[in-house]
Each structure stands twice: as structure tokens, then as C-alpha cells.
Symmetry: D2
């Protein structure tokens, strides 16, 4: 195969597919290449919390991007469901970020204040208020920060919807297609090499999550991203136990359709290992039972892992490669890949089209230490 594209996207996770969707909408001839199946890694494993205010505790560019991305879903989800036959399962019943003790209460109350200043909705619920709304939450908690606008989705289905919508708009998806190298001449990219031959394109975007670092090593760039393994499991319940997402330090419970609850997630830094461990399950089970004791009666369904890409400074890398013309990077979304997909797609499409006017805080130029000589420093 020797085809020519406007843009090639390396990685069929949610961000790769979101970029493909935006580019296809703007008329680009685009292809997504994935070494396995679409949304087969972290995107398909995610619990799907759109936790702009839940996960990001400081105002700043990432918080702004997250809030914007979250609001983009309002129109995106009906658009994607319309274009595809995929049901995304979007729910908009908020997140309860609980406090287990006085200290956590104070931290959350300060957070509420700061988010209110940033014009985002958030309020404090005492344990009594909380239990009125979520009667199965443990009464040993102190209360919760309630974030009404942090909804949630079925992450795999949403990722699939981005991919299928892209196909509908003319994009091509190559599954089981491993990109081993870039075709580079004089610091300009001309395409990629795969196990089955070469694909040519004007632009190449690396959106390979935790695996982005490896492929970028080919260009002499050691992108400071580390793999952070997370384990999850799910249970089934007869009657709804919780309406909103219950979120605590080290454990969250997310109510899905058909009576499923997704419980996540452990954190193991610097691990690509996709095995679920006994110890991981043990930890999550204990924490979940402390949040919602009644979960003990739920039916066990199964467990899985995802490998999340954490960047050195906590911000994703969204921009041009510092040394290769035509090569772009959209990686390092850590636990916010699902949340940030719409904004990532739009920003990357803007960058490719040369449309971005204001400074981009996610540019790769922000890190001095990116040059090849520093390799191994992070790991």
C-alpha cells in the first residue's frame, strides 16, 4: 500500500479519533493508524468522568481547556450519535467529591471558593445534605463538594463514535497497523513506515498516549511522558445506588447505564503492565466499600486496566515537534483524555491549519529538557 494523505494520525485512542474527526470535517484526507484496535487501550478502559472541576484543582490553561472541552460535548454528543449508530451514554448528574475528614473538608471548601471565582459552579454539601441526595453514601464521611457540570460518558463508546464519525466523513482507519518509524528528510516529515509499507502525508500527528514517547525517540525526542497503570472493575446492581459520580482520594464510583457501576482506579507509576492484580482489586474494593457500603451486595462483573500517559509537568503536549516540520504531537492527557478530546481535536486541527493566534500553553517548546541528550532523565 502506498497512499498519500493530508494527515496521518498515529494512535486510534479518543484523541487520535477526535483529531481525525475535526480534520475530516474541515475537508482533510486523513487516516488513523493503530497498532491494535480502535480505543483498545486507555480510552476504552476509562471510567469516562468528564471531571474538569473534579480532576483539575488549579485555575490555569489546563483548567480553561478542560472547561471548554467539557462544554463542547453538549453539541458534540448529539452530533456524533447522529452520524453513527453508537450510543454514548452521556449522563449529566454531577460529581460528589467527598471529604473523609476535617482536613479534606477544608481543602474542598477552598477549592469551591476558587472555582466559583473562576465562574464555575460548585457547592459544599454537609453529610446530611449529601445523604439526602445520595442516600447510600457512607455517613462516616464529612460531606462533599458538589460539581453539577462534571458529567460522564461511556468512554469506549464515545471513542468509537469519534472513529466511526470520522469514517463517515471520509477518514480511513487502519487497525493492527504499527508505525515503526517516520519518513523524514532534512527535518521534514513525509509520512510513516509501518509493518506493511509506507504511507505518505503532509502532516503526521502522534496521538499514541503512553506509547508516544517510544515512537518519538525515532526523531531524537525523549518526550517526558511516563505510563501510569490504573486498574478498575465493575459491578451490577438491581436498583440505582448512586445518581452522581462519587469521587474520593484514590477511588471513584461511576453509575453507568443498565445498572452498572464502574469503580476505579489504582495508580502504578512507570508501568506498561496490563494485568489486573489481586492487590489492585483488594485496594479498590476496600475503598469503594468505605464510600458506599451497600455496594457489598452488588454483583461482581469484571476487572481491567488502562495505561495512562502522564507528562512531566502535568500538561498535555499539544503542538508541533520542536525539530521536525510537519510532525505534531497530541499526547500526555493522563487521566483527562476523555474530557479533553473535543478541545484537543479542535486545537490540533487549528494548529495544522495555522489558525491559532493566541499563544498555545501546551506547546512543546515549554520544556527545555526535551532534547535527546537528556534521555533517560525522567525514567
Amino acid at each position: 500500500m502506498r497512499k498519500i494523505f493530508d494527515a496521518l494520525i498515529v494512535g486510534g485512542g479518543i484523541n487520535g479519533s477526535s483529531i481525525a474527526f475535526q480534520l475530516a470535517k474541515r475537508g482533510c484526507k486523513v487516516a488513523v493508524l493503530d497498532k491494535g484496535k480502535i480505543a483498545g487501550k486507555a480510552s476504552g478502559a476509562a471510567a469516562g468522568i468528564l471531571g474538569a472541576q473534579t480532576e483539575l484543582t488549579e485555575d490555569g490553561p489546563l483548567f480553561q481547556l478542560a472547561c471548554k472541552s467539557r462544554s463542547m460535548y453538549q453539541s458534540l454528543i448529539p452530533e456524533l450519535e447522529d452520524l453513527t449508530q453508537v450510543h454514548i451514554g452521556y449522563q449529566n448528574k454531577g460529581v460528589y467529591k467527598v471529604a473523609a475528614n476535617k482536613e479534606e473538608e477544608l481543602v474542598l471548601k477552598r477549592l469551591i471558593e476558587s472555582q466559583q471565582k473562576a465562574d464555575e459552579q460548585a457547592e459544599w454539601f454537609t453529610i446530611d445534605d449529601l445523604i439526602k441526595r445520595e442516600p447510600f453514601v457512607s455517613n462516616k464521611l464529612r460531606g462533599a463538594m458538589y460539581i453539577p457540570n462534571d458529567g460522564q460518558v461511556q468512554a469506549y463508546e464515545l471513542s468509537l463514535a469519534f472513529a466511526k464519525a470520522s469514517i463517515t466523513l471520509g477518514a480511513e482507519i487502519y487497525e493492527y497497523t504499527h508505525v515503526s518509524d517516520f519518513i523524514l528528510k532534512e527535518k521534514k516529515v513525509y509520512g510513516v513506515r509501518t509493518g506493511l509499507g509506507e504511507l505518505l502525508a503532509d502532516s503526521v500527528i502522534v496521538a499514541s498516549g503512553a506509547w508516544s514517547r517510544e515512537i518519538l525517540e525515532r526523531t531524537g525526542l525523549s518526550l517526558p511522558i511516563i505510563p501510569v497503570k490504573g486498574e478498575c472493575f465493575s459491578v451490577k446492581i438491581e436498583k440505582p445506588l448512586v445518581q452522581g459520580t462519587i469521587f474520593s482520594h484514590g477511588c471513584y464510583i461511576v453509575p453507568k447505564q443498565s445498572g452498572r457501576l464502574v469503580v476505579g482506579a489504582t495508580v502504578k507509576i512507570n508501568s506498561f503492565d496490563e494485568k489486573v492484580t489481586f492487590g489492585g482489586i483488594s485496594l479498590l474494593i476496600e475503598k469503594a466499600q468505605n464510600l458506599v457500603p451497600e455496594i457489598a451486595h452488588a454483583e461482581w462483573e469484571g476487572a481491567w486496566t488502562g495505561i495512562r500517559p502522564q507528562s512531566a509537568d502535568g500538561l498535555p503536549f499539544l503542538g508541533q515537534h520542536p525539530a521536525c516540520e510537519g510532525l505534531y504531537i497530541a499526547a500526555g492527557h493522563f487521566r483527562n483524555g476523555i474530557l479533553l478530546a473535543p478541545a484537543t481535536g479542535e486545537l490540533m486541527a487549528d494548529i495544522l491549519e495555522g489558525k491559532t493566534e493566541q499563544p498555545n500553553p501546551f506547546e512543546l517548546s515549554r520544556l527545555e529538557c526535551l532534547v535527546h541528550s537528556s534521555k533517560g532523565v525522567l525514567l
Copy 2:
């Protein structure tokens, strides 16, 4: 456990759950008992075609019931989705009942005529017209009867939605609860016996599909229902292959959400065997490939079976037991269990409330041969 209910429903398939839903809505204290899991047998295995005009080729009471039931889904589906967190996946893109040769064409054209007389929409598509709308259908076909109003659902999810909606309205569901006998005194039912004790109720409704005959033998009634095994499989496709359901003699292809196609179904009379056979898959594969050759490129997903309850005269039994007061039967829906669930629920609730005025053509009195002495005649 020794509880008292207004009504007990033996069988948690779609019809049992639909009856529970109607009764709960009307204020009854109701429980559903299932020997395994909700929708664990034929209801969960069904392809979900709402084939009022597709499956029922003669006008008459069953055709009328089917058309009515189909139209009830218009309001029922949003109601159920609202009450539960279940996505039913209702699609309303019609059925193409194809003709492979001149004879089938004539039969279908006559059917169109008779259905149009019965004020139902149906029209003939030549093969050229058909291919314009469904370009992947084989051009070796003669054409198709198009039935725009025969939609389809995800049968398991719909069954679950009925059950969960019932729970929301106060019904109780007992899974893994096998009813071994009725509590009968002087030809009146007082409840049921299960492996774990007795449950009392004013009314008991048997909605156990192909397993209804066995439990009813306890009452001396040999209900003429036989089990008809059907095998199905599903595949995954990248881009939609068909918009509507493609329906032929011995094989149908139903497009589901997220790019799934369900292909069914073999017919093995008098079998409770739930194993998928090599021979069944072989037969379906050949037929499906003749309908939509491009399906050869689809990704194989998996196969399963369902045991459908066929009644001796083709009509379901919906009514009172001929000899036991308080005992009711709703069984024998054969391949139309999903389609007929709304009307079954309503009719059975009406019967229990003594509301039915007009004659009920599905009464058990229609069959003389129901008495115990005739046992074994059918089998």
C-alpha cells in the same frame, strides 16, 4: 421467606417483565420469579425485530395484536428509558423482506396487497430500487417487500428495561428462584412453591416461554407448546452495510448500534438444547452471504441460542387457566415475544382486573385438546 403479593409472575423474560410493569403501574404488589437471570433465555437471545408485518402473513387477531403492540412501543420506549438507565436502541428503518425468485416475488406482492388492505404500509421494491436503498444487498435477488414500520430493538436491553422499570414502580424480582409447584386448594391458586419456600398471591401468571408446559403439568394441563431452538451469531463492521433489516426465508440480518449485525436464526423443533452447533453456524453463514455478500469481510463476534415457545395453533395463550381460579397463562409467543410484549402486558393486566369486554381470541378455551388425558399427543 413467606410474603404475600397481589400477583406473582413465573418467568422473567420480556413478557413476564412487561406484565409486571403494567400491573405495578396499576398499583399491584407484584413479584417476578425467574429460575435464572432476568431475560436469560429467549428474550435475551432475540434479534429484536418488531416484525408485525414481516412475521405475520395473515390478517386476523394475532396480526391485529402485533400491529397494536408495535405501535405501543412509540410511547413505551421513551417511558422505559426515562424510568431506567437502560438504552434500548430502538431503530425504525424498516424491514426488507426479500424475494429470491419469481415465486417468492408473487407471494410477497400478494402479501403487500393484503396488508395494504389492512391499512398497513408496505410496498414492492424491484432489485434496482432495493439496491439504490441498500447497495450491499445481493443483486441476484428479485426485489423486496419494504415494510417501513417494522422497527427493531436491542432485545436484552428492552427486557431489562421492563424489569428495572417494574422495580422502580415497586415490583420485586427474584432471580435464581425456581417455582416447582403451585399452592392449589379446591381449584384455586394461593401462591407458588420454590426451592426456598412458599410465596403467596391472589393471582399467579405463568410466563415461562418454552418452559411453561412443564410447570403447568402440575395442574394437569398439558399446554401444547413445543420448544424451538434457534441459533444466531453477530459480526462487527466498520461502515454500515445495511440500514434496514434484511429478511429472507431462513435468515435475517439486523443492523444494531456500534456497527454490529445480528444474523439469525436456525430452527430446530422440539429441542431445549442451548448449544450452538457447527451445522447451525454453517447454514446461517451460507444464507447470510447470499443476502449480503460483503458480510464476508465483517469481523466475527460470537454465537448463541434461544429456545422459542411455539404453540400448536400458532397463537399465544393469553388468558386464564381452564381449571384453576387465579392462575393465568401468557406463553407461546414463538418468534414474536419481543414484538408482543407491550400488548401482552396490557391484555394480561386487563384480564386480571376483569376489564376485558370483547372476546379474547387468545383464551385457552380455544383448544379442546388441552386436558391432561391428551398428554404427549403433541410431542
Copy 3:
């Protein structure tokens, strides 16, 4: 179908198949009927410990039967593996029945003494001795009773081997065949009724585990057996963690081939519910980690349940029905179904042949309370 057999066995668990195997060897024309698949319930769920000395703590008829049955496996396993293509995975590395505290230590030491008197091998290992042999066992334990002769098997494979060996010797197996009633005339059995017709036989043996009570109600007999649900899970390890079975109060860890460890089992009395619960997993995980802390690094595999049949006095029922000629019962093996299968098969075959000379302590006559009037007493 209307066939005539020498003996029909109702239930294709390990004991039903073992009886079929013995009868087929002795030249009987025999059939096994199962409502689902062979070994689909408790037999397939068992951890497979042949725990004659582990599980049975008092000398007496059951202990004698258990020891005899265990020793029968020495020749049976090669015989079964030879007759079939099934690998049974028999391991003979003993059980360590651990003591968590001084009291448990004393109990175990007394047990060792009594078993030694009964000429069975058992010895006390201090925690240091124990750790020398099983270095991953927790050093917070006090020590263990070591039982060298309590081996273990893969319970599903062994059950399957009994069934397949029976087939090889001429027996027939009918899966998905539910026996709804017996054909009885004047207190003599002539066969059974199934969903698909009648099968005739001189003898019928009920070996339906926890489901035996229900079918026997047809004969006016309320067999005092209750269902006891047990949950298990398995993990995978790279290097062997334990050589023998580690057995404690409420939790055991059984090393299987290919690096699998089976951990069991919870106890829920009076439950046919086959769902794995969050709470069950939680309990087992905690206990297992206390026994072998290193298990935290094992890979999670999956979880399942079994429904075990517990009899009122702890002994299985192995003998003739008190009121029906030709009807026999082999049920109530509780947690010892795998262990007792060989002796059960032999004893039941002897009883059918009228060969038993000495008194049979497992006869149903031992319980006065079996008559129908007492129904419901136990439950």
C-alpha cells in the same frame, strides 16, 4: 423419544457421572439426564480438594467413606485418563490446615492425635517448619496440621472424565433435559418425565445435588437438604507460591496447574443465587492475603459460584427412597462431592445390584422427619 434403560440418573454432576460409570462398567444400560450441561453447577465450580482428613474432623462412617473414596482415586484417575482424552490434573502434595492462634493450634493438635489413632497420617508443623516447606505462608500464623494424603484434582475435568468414560462404556448423556416428574405406579418407579417426553427404566437415581429436594417433592418426600452458596476466584502466578493446599477457617488456596491458584469459598446458607457478589470477593481477598501475603502480586483471573447441597445431619443420603421401589437417592455431599464421588458410585451400584451386606449408615431411613408432613421444617 421413548427409550428403555436399566437405570436413569437424574443429574450430571460428578456423583451422577460416577454412578453412571460404575453401572456402565457392570453392564447396565444407563443414561444421565441433566437440565443443563455436564458438571455445569457445583461439580464444575469446586476447588477440587480431596480433603478427607481436612474437611471431616470426626471419625465415623463419613470419615471412613471419605478415606476409602480418596484411596480409590489412586487407580481411578489413571483409568479415567486412559479411557478419555481428559487430563484430570491430580496433585498429591497434601494440605496444610493452618492455625491462626493458640486455640486453633490446640484443636488441630487434638485432631492430629485422633486421626493418627484412626491410622491416618497427619502431623503438626510449627510456623518455622511450615515456612521451611511453604515459604510464602504468613509468618503470623501459629503453624499447621499437615495432611500428606489429602490431594486435589481439577474438579470440572474430573467430572467430565467420569461422564466421558461412561459414554465410552455405553452410557448415554442427555444434556439440557429437565426431569419434571417420575413415572410412578403403586409406589414403584417406571421412569421419568422430561420436557420432551418420557424415558423408562427399572431404576432411577436422583443425584441432583442441591436441586434434589425439589424433584423429590414429587414423591411426597421433603429431603432435608439446603443449598449453600459458595463463591471462589482464581489468580495466576509466574512462579509457584505454594506447593500444597493452604487451608484455614473460611478460606483455602489451592495450587492448580499452569500457575493458577484457586481461592475459596464463602458460605451463604439457603441460597440458590449464582451471582458473585462484591462482598464475597471482598471477604475472600482479605482472608487470602492474610494466609499468603505475596498473593497480592498475582494476576486476577475471575470469579464464580457453586451451590452446595448440605444435608440436615451432615451425612449424604445414599440409598433407596423410603416409599418408592426402584427410586434411589445420592445427594447431600455438601463440600465433599468431589472427594466422595468414587465411593458414591460404587456404593450406589452395589445397592442397585442388591450387593450390600453390612448396614449402610447413609440410608434415608435414618431420619424420622422425612415424611411429607414435616415439609418446610428445615427451611
Copy 4:
């Protein structure tokens, strides 16, 4: 992690693990690195035929290697089963290579003659003789070449046994560890780079099957290996249908333990796509039914794929890298990876130890076209 080894093996398929086993036995400090799980690709997907005479139709070095490797299993299998708790399921009942017509008969008879000359056992069975031994084989066949010494194994279990035996002997296994590059200095290898850091070793052996080409591109070598996708499925039977392996053009049926039959395999050249296709299943089903019609009654189990590495000249590459000291290659075994594993392990260990005296026909020097300039020629 920064560890130092004697040898690193890139790829944990059966050949990688066999090499690790041989090296560990000889006292080497060795590690196996796999990007996923041990035996997770072609090795775990293989049907496990040890088809030295079945697959290799010409005498020559590969035939000699295959026959030698096959005979090595006689002692290896008990050794591996002894060292690990893995049951390999070795069966030694021969292969029937069937002829569908006169032409195929002649070809096979000539093959028998030539193999007899090479002192290997093989004989012609007329269709009557064949049916006497394998009564379920189709009587429309002409007959079969019977190869008594081509046994078979459970390929996944055997691969696992090699890996676990290596661990027992001191080797380390790193799963989910992707080797992205070699550490090379002046044409000498010093180790490998992985996603999580560097591992150092005196020797590195690439045993990555169809994925070997990609990693070797790092060294400027375009190894002429292409991926050949194969699809398989399995069914379950109650009684044995065949004793030996039935092998025909395009389809084989291999009887496994516990009544499983594995049916393989389609051939799709130049594909890394691991999806099972409808079309692949369709093709295999038709062919299998022609070989053993009774298979139609078997129970469907499931389907899977494997990606086999085919070399340009049909011989595996077993030897040193033409340009890098310390770098070795053991890849390109195509459909004979399971069969050739023992000999591959031994030969590679000999090569690393400098022990090989006679010329090695599998050396990479045999191909002139290996230099980087030729890249893309094959694909």
C-alpha cells in the same frame, strides 16, 4: 531498571522461550522480553501439529531439522512437565494427509516414497483402510498418506511450559515490555531499549516472529519475513470423532483433550490484522465439513487468529546478524514454529556458545538481498 544479562531474548513466543530454556540450562543469565504476554500471539494460536513430514514435503536441511526437533520432544515433554505444573497434552496418534482426487493421491504416493527413502515412516491408506481407522472421515476422499510419527501438542501450554521451565532455571520474563531499539556501538550490540529503560547484555536474540522485521529495521536490516494471517476455530464433541489429525489442502482437524477439535487455518498473506472474519470462518467450515461431515453436530466453541512469519525462501533465519556482533536472529518459522522450537533452542544456544562446527544452512548470509537498500522489495 538497569540490569545486566548474558543474553536477552526479544519475543516470548515458543521459540524465544525455548532458547531461554536451553541457555538457562547451560548456566546463562537470560531474560525474555515480550511486548504483551507470553505466547500471546502465533504460539498461543497454533493448532500444535508436530508436522515434520506433513508440512515439509522435500528432503533437505529444514526437513532434517524438523525431524530432529520432533524427536527431541520425546524427552523434552516429560522434562518440561516435570519442571512446571503445566500439562502439555502431547498426543502421538499420527496425521492422515488426505487426497481428494487422483492427482492428490499421486502426489502423496510420491511423497511417501521419498520420505521412506529418507528413513521416515509413511504409508498409503486407501479410503477403505482409512475409514476402518477413522470411520468419520468422508468416504468421498481417495485415501490418505498416514504419518504415524507426526504427533501434536497443546501449543499454548507447551509455550508456557518452556517459559515456566526457564524461570525455574533462573531466567527472567518481562511481559508488557516493548523493545524499541538496540543499544549498538560500532556494530556491536550492548543491550536493548525498552519503554521503561535499558537492559544490557552480551548477546541479544530476536525471536519476534512476524514482528522481527520491524525491530531489525533499526539495524538497517530488512529481514524478508512477511506476516501471514491464519484463522482457526474449535468445537466440542461428546465422543471422539477422529483419533489422528486429518490434514488436507487448506484445512486440518486436530483432536485435543476433553473432546475439543481445533480446525485451521486460513491463509492471508501480508496481514497483521488479528480479527477473525466471517469469510474466514465460512471457508474453514465448508472445508471441515467436507473432511468429516459428522462435525456438523459438534458444539461451536470459538474462533481466533495467529500471525505467522513467512520467510522469503521458506527457511527460518537462525543465526547471527550479518552486521552486528552479539545480535542473533531466530525467526521465520512460518507454520512450523511449534515443531521447530526444540531444535531452534538448541541450535541458537550452540551458536551463542560458538559450538556449531558444521555449516548452518539457516544462516542469514544465504540471502544477498538483505541489505538495507533493498527495503520494500518484498512487501
